[in-house]
């Protein structure tokens, strides 16, 4: 990946990170979108989409509800898509396993950084309290802008970290992998689909949606068996 492509990936990762909470929440931050965008940055959108679709199964567990601390999959998915597109190990099963591991780590880190950022936003409110309580529109705008700037910084850091760690780890995995490649692929698929099944059960396992979820699983399994 060239420095220009890496820079573009960081820019896209930053915008995608802002989408999660700050603006505009149009779900560009979902891995299936972010992965495609990351791949597109290096001219290989479909390679990015393939990784993003896998990570989307992890993201199904995430409910971005108010004050809850939840992982941020967007910037990591952009980086993963770019790495896969740039063939930095993302297309070999062992490299894919490495990239997925890194994204799991940075998604968790993203949630933690969001918590830190929200505490910093409290400090902004404290600093502007007198003006806020006096109805000063500049104070309102300033707090919004400071929050946006912090969130952009958070997303940029996550993208850079995922790109750097993913590049290093994927390289190490591709060169040092001893077991069969299929084992890495099966592990990634089992982990993502396993989390997807759990997430589906958690969301729809009670009340009226439960029977629909089970019906869907059955129908999907039938299609899958015929297709396999």
């Amino acid at each position: 990946m060239s420095p220009l492509e890496a820079g573009a990936a960081v820019a896209v990762g930053t915008l995608v990170g802002l989408d999660l909470v700050s603006v505009p929440q149009m779900m560009f931050s979902r891995p299936i979108v972010a992965g495609l965008l990351g791949g597109a940055v290096v001219g290989q959108p479909l390679a990015g989409l393939a990784v993003g679709a896998l990570l989307e199964l992890f993201a199904m567990e995430t409910l971005p509800v108010g004050a809850v601390r939840y992982p941020d999959w967007g910037p990591g998915s952009v980086a993963a898509g770019a790495l896969a597109g740039a063939e930095a190990g993302g297309r070999s099963p062992a490299g894919l396993l490495a990239v997925v591991l890194v994204v799991l780590g940075t998604a968790w880190l993203g949630g933690w950084l969001m918590h830190v950022m929200r505490r910093a936003n409290v400090a902004s409110v404290a600093a502007w309290r007198v003006a806020l309580d006096a109805g000063d529109a500049r104070a309102v705008r300033r707090i919004q802008l400071e929050g946006l700037a912090r969130d952009a910084g958070r997303a940029a850091v996550l993208t850079v970290l995922t790109l750097a760690a993913g590049q290093v780890l994927a390289g190490a995995f591709v060169s040092g992998w001893q077991a069969g490649e299929l084992i890495a692929r099966v592990a990634v698929v089992a982990a993502t689909v396993g989390v997807g099944i759990w997430s589906g059960w958690r969301l729809f396992g009670q009340g009226a949606p439960a029977q629909w979820f089970v019906t869907g699983l059955g129908a999907g399994a039938l299609v899958a068996v015929l297709w396999l």
């Binding site: 199964l57 006096a134 919004q144 099966v186 989390v195 729809f204 979820f213 899958a224």
Partner: protein
């Protein structure tokens, strides 16, 4: 009466700001500052304008604590701004804001986070699996945001129209029917998408690999179910992948 029939003042500016309502989200006022930011253009018409006491008092009030689902927050923004313009008492306006937090939060979570979002994601996953490529993402974004943007526009308009009586808008039949329908629909789609995504990934591989993958996925889901809430799927997936990595890097198998 003239105000009742009037359109939302500065509709475009308020709608635009609603998309950034959570930019300054914090643990003290939650989205309260964003609420004030979004409502501000509607308050400029208060007697005395931006320099007037009514404007400053209203903006200070609208920037206090508030939390709800971001897509439905426009309903509260519109209603509170309308109450300010109508000259309602500060106590009534504060009660209105406080009363709307819970219902708007739970309705939005049920309708969007636990319904429409997973439904659209499941459709996109199935489309990717069946070869729709980048079109799957286009379909996802268009489908999802049709409802998202409509909710924001409808909420702002309904809030402004109803003012203090905005609770009636929440009982709208379309909204109620939507929240009842979307859960089962999403359950069906997510249920169908999981095995299809699995088959897409391991299609053409030996049956032993397919069996190992399916068994691993089911066991992992079961272990997460048993371990929750002490552990989540993400942590256990990392554990599984970490263990596989160590074994794969150390031993030829």
């Amino acid at each position: 009466m003239a105000v009742a029939a009037s359109p939302v003042p500065a509709f475009g500016a308020v709608l635009f700001r609603l998309f950034a309502i959570q930019a300054g989200w914090n643990y003290e006022r939650m989205m309260g500052v964003g609420f004030g930011y979004a409502a501000e253009p509607m308050l400029r018409g208060l007697p005395g304008g931006r320099a007037g006491d009514r404007y400053r008092e209203a903006l200070a009030r609208e920037s206090r604590f508030f939390n709800a689902h971001p897509y439905l927050a426009g309903l509260a923004v519109g209603a509170a701004a309308r109450a300010e313009v109508d000259g309602e008492s500060p106590e009534k306006i504060e009660r209105l804001r406080a009363a709307l937090c819970g219902p708007l939060g739970s309705l939005g979570d049920r309708l969007i986070w636990a319904g429409w979002l997973p439904a659209c994601a499941a459709i996109a996953l199935m489309l990717v699996a069946f070869g729709a490529r980048a079109w799957a993402v286009v379909v996802f974004l268009v489908l999802y945001n049709l409802v998202h943007v409509w909710l924001r526009i409808w909420g702002l308009r309904a809030g402004w129209r109803e003012g203090l009586h905005v609770a009636g808008a929440l009982a709208a039949q379309g909204l109620r029917r939507g929240s009842e329908t979307v859960g089962p629909l999403a359950g069906l789609l997510v249920g169908a998408a999981l095995p299809i995504a699995f088959a897409w990934q391991l299609r053409g591989e030996p049956w032993e690999a397919v069996g190992a993958g399916a068994g691993g996925a089911i066991v992992l889901a079961g272990v997460v179910r048993l371990a929750a809430p002490r552990a989540n799927g993400m942590a256990l997936a990392a554990l599984l992948l970490g263990a596989t990595s160590v074994c794969g890097l150390l031993w030829p198998w």
